[in-house]
């Protein structure tokens, strides 16, 4: 399950930020490593919400800075 989530997260990041798949490493920061601006990060969170049918509240969204943060958060939500 969690691999499935990781793959989907990576795919969304690639699509939204227009980066290469091999740049999307687990510890890659959206802003520092993948060239996202603040609106990109909001769009990413909205895309995650849509793709995984989860709601990511504002305070949780603020803490999602890296690819791994996103995967972990979504995995936890789906498990709950």
């Amino acid at each position: 399950m969690s691999n499935e989530i990781a793959d989907k997260v990576k795919k969304i990041v690639v699509e939204h930020l227009g980066v290469d798949a091999d740049q999307v490493k687990p510890d890659a920061s959206f802003i520092d490593d993948l060239g996202a601006d603040s609106l990109d990060t909001v769009e990413l969170v909205m895309a995650f919400e849509e793709a995984f049918s989860v709601e990511i509240p504002e305070d949780a969204a603020e803490k999602i800075a890296t690819v791994n943060d996103a995967i972990e958060y979504i995995t936890k939500q789906k498990a709950a």
Binding site: D37, L39, E43, M46
Partner: protein, 247 residues
């Protein structure tokens, strides 16, 4: 210049004097228009005047949150394409001096004139951001800048439109989406027809261009802001008031 060919525009309050003129001019420039409002019969009259092509009607009551939230996607569904231009034109007044203003007079005006434009903009921006293009144009009023006795609620809502639009403009500028405001002065509509002659005379004395506005004067400003040519204009308020207030 100013072609809107093939673009989808949603106009709220499209059965009113100004709303109908906006719909007409956008349609004339080639846009596909979705007319919204509370009175379906009146919307059908406006639609009939535009002919049978590139016109859709989606009635909605914007004092209902769910209807306001759903309007953009309903418009996109009926037209079968994503929204390019949102015109927040719908508005209502509940005029009375503040000491006599009921809570509901305040709440209703803020709900329809300020909150519903936000709800519509929020819904529209999701797609516009993603597509890297879009236009949001909201109709404010000169009284949002100058104030007007008896209109504390309306003036607050219309001033709020300006602050909201400036904020949205900064949020989405990098995505090629512009957010602007048109602020009419005194325009000849059913609302101003009922003014006593003495009041009209006094009003005209304050307008350097010597006449009341026409709905078409306002619509032309909307066409400009909706056009590709206005692509470097955002967060601004275009005052269309015959020079009555030069702000």
């Amino acid at each position: 210049m100013f072609s809107l060919s093939g673009k989808l525009a949603l106009i709220t309050g499209a059965s009113g004097g100004i709303g109908a003129a906006i719909a007409r001019q956008l349609h004339e420039r080639g846009a596909i228009v979705v007319l919204s409002g509370t009175r379906e019969g009146a919307l059908q009259d406006v639609a009939a005047a535009l002919g049978s092509e590139r016109v859709h009607i989606v009635p909605a009551n914007l004092s209902d949150d769910a209807q306001a939230d759903a309007l953009v996607s309903r418009a996109e569904e009926v037209a079968g394409q994503p929204l390019d231009i949102l015109v927040n034109n719908a508005g209502l007044t509940r005029d009375t001096l503040a000491v006599r203003m009921k809570d509901d007079d305040w709440a209703q005006v803020l709900k329809v004139d300020l909150e519903s434009p936000f709800r519509l903009a929020r819904a529209a921006l999701k797609g516009m951001q993603r597509r890297r293009s879009g236009r949001i144009i909201s109709i404010s009023s000169i009284v949002g800048t100058t104030g007007n006795p008896g209109q504390a609620n309306y003036a607050a809502a219309k001033a709020g439109i300006v602050g909201m639009s400036k904020s949205l403009a900064q949020e989405v500028g990098r995505r090629g989406v512009t957010v602007n405001v048109v602020a009419p002065g005194f325009v000849e509509t059913a609302m101003t027809d009922v003014l006593p002659e003495a009041v009209r005379e006094k009003l005209l004395g304050n307008i350097p261009l010597g006449r009341m506005g026409r709905p078409e004067d306002v619509a032309a400003a909307v066409v400009y802001l909706a056009s590709d040519e206005a692509g470097w204009v955002t967060g601004t308020t275009l005052h269309v008031n015959g020079g009555m207030a030069m702000v």
